[in-house]
Symmetry: C2
Subunit: 349 residues, 2 copies
């Protein structure tokens, strides 16, 4: 499911794959979320793992040197860990230079720019490899036009940030493919971009071009093709709603799925802001989204029930589904409710 | 009304004023809109005009050399004309170097960066003057927090772009001051920034920081102080709604004024997108704006009636005012309806 788009008119950059996943000298698994995401969602694109300390966390892939990974087909080393502050520690430099000299490009989602490190810049020039900072959006983003594009689109929206939009859309795209649907996952954030090999970091785009970037992300496609677009933020988020609205307008989705984490009462980090009700998100998304797609509809609701026991989660989702009159499912737990959500999104009976 | 903010906690840059207005070698008045805006709204800050061709357009200010303007108190030369493409023509370079050497900084709203011209960079270093590109937002914009700030805020919103939000808010700020209200005009676009001497080009801010930039633009202020904030775009604009929503959330306005141009039927340049009704803009602005200010209300409507005869405009505004139950006025024509709009915005009887 993670192959780069085959549309020749898509000007988005494509990351060099497969990957050697770099774990640095990180001993805290919480800092290796990107690496675990790659293992879980792009395992066929990860030939092995590599660290620069015997104490580093492992994600359970074969340990390889850069030279071994290159021989196994890897085309880039992807930095799978983040430090607080998003810096590039000096302790990583020798390992990254080794990778470049072995013929691997470097892919990073950190705040710090790879090309700001002289040793990496020199090694990249020497080896002819790329330094890819995926937080940097493409340079030639046009202003949005609102023009209706061919093909079908699904967008994840949310009651908040950081509650499962990426994994919901990855799971939906995988399920679409399993049903034989021609489909691409369209990443809008850094981990999603690493997993899928392309995309646009929507939060890093200049505001005037936000909708235009979303239009660029899901170009014209065959009529039966689906773009499954990773969501960002929330229309109710006091800091990030601009990102969400530009993404909604530019994506012109035919179908959206509301992502929510039961039990979360307030916006993450902003305890004065209550989380909106799912039905309010549905109503507002339709009201705003119909500006660029009058046929927009809600396909259902994705719950992140990772904090609940299985039976508790199942009962809650059944109750919510009855209350809302829509499929409600956990896209990680799957099961019949998830199949109903997939069917509803595809508009099948 | 155009004095830089007196709030010491406001980190926004302040332009060196007063100005010598530069008209280049432009013979087409349509390209000198910024210069005319400065003459009309910041005449007390413009000591004179300067061009590098005898055929250049005039805005009716005293003609001065940079040295004469410096002697008359000018602190910068502001580029009041734009060429198609926003480039800096080579034919201007000698005049701009003359200004720097005379002790004036240069202020530009063009796409082209002043510091990309070696002769200007050298002259600025030599003379110790600044090259100010106002399209560049401040560097340290924080993420929004939604925290309620002290003081009162008015924001212009619109049915579309480019229909009079800047002049409506300039006119309202001037009227507030005439009534003795403690108030600042907060510019969100380049011409407004030149007129007021400060502000943030909201369309040039990275999406993730759009609401944060709007929060920075109108900081905490005394309880009876008003910030009158220039609007941008429209929540109904398929390309620019992200800018408008970030500005709305971050501005947390107590009052908003809807700006509209009667007769405009579709979004400028996008004939497939009908203009929204004024009442729809009111309803949607309240729905979205109450997320960061539950007390948000509509103060009235500003019509740009420049295309209508005076009696026609007066009748149309009276009819619309009766239909909407709100003051409707042309902030350039003024008159009793405008006084009613000012009164309504201030919440007075």
């Amino acid at each position: 499911m993670n192959a780069p788009s085959s549309f020749t008119d898509n000007p988005l950059p494509v990351l060099p794959q497969p990957y050697l996943v770099f774990l640095g000298d990180t001993t805290e698994p919480g800092y290796a979320k990107t690496a675990f995401g790659l293992r879980d969602w792009a395992s066929d694109l990860c030939v092995g793992e590599f660290s620069c300390s015997p104490d580093a966390v492992s994600i359970g892939l074969p340990a390889m040197t850069p030279a071994e990974a290159k021989a196994a087909g890897a085309r880039s080393l992807v930095i799978g860990v983040a430090n607080p502050g998003g810096v590039l520690p000096e302790s990583w430099t020798a390992a990254l230079v080794e990778a470049l000299d072995a013929g691997l490009s470097i892919v990073s989602g950190l705040h710090a720019r790879l090309s700001d490190v002289p040793a990496l810049r020199e090694a990249a020039e020497r080896s002819g490899q790329q330094l890819v900072d995926i937080r940097v959006p493409p340079s030639a983003i046009p202003v949005g036009t609102g023009r209706k594009r061919s093909g079908k689109r699904l967008l994840a929206v949310g009651t908040d940030c950081a509650l499962g939009k990426k994994y919901a859309t990855l799971s939906l795209a995988r399920a679409f493919k399993e049903r034989g649907v021609n489909c691409d996952f369209r990443a809008t954030g850094q981990t999603g971009i690493m997993i899928s090999g392309g995309g646009i970091p929507m939060d890093a785009v200049i505001s005037d071009f936000e909708a235009g970037a979303a239009e660029m992300l899901s170009p014209d496609a065959p009529g039966d093709h689906w773009d499954v677009i990773e969501g960002q933020g929330s229309l109710y988020h006091p800091a990030y709603a601009a990102v969400s609205l530009g993404l909604l307008h530019g994506s012109q989705p035919d179908v959206f799925v509301v992502c929510h984490q039961p039990g979360r009462k307030t916006i993450l980090g902003l305890p004065d802001f209550p989380l909106p009700a799912v039905e309010d998100v549905i109503d507002l998304t339709i009201r705003l989204g119909k500006r660029t797609n009058p046929a927009i509809r809600c396909g259902g609701v994705a719950f992140n029930t990772s904090g609940l026991a299985a039976d508790e989660a199942e009962k809650l989702m059944a109750d919510e589904s009855a209350r809302l009159g829509l499929p409600v499912a956990d896209p990680i737990r799957k099961g019949p409710a998830f199949e109903a959500l997939v069917t509803s999104c595809l508009g099948e009976e």
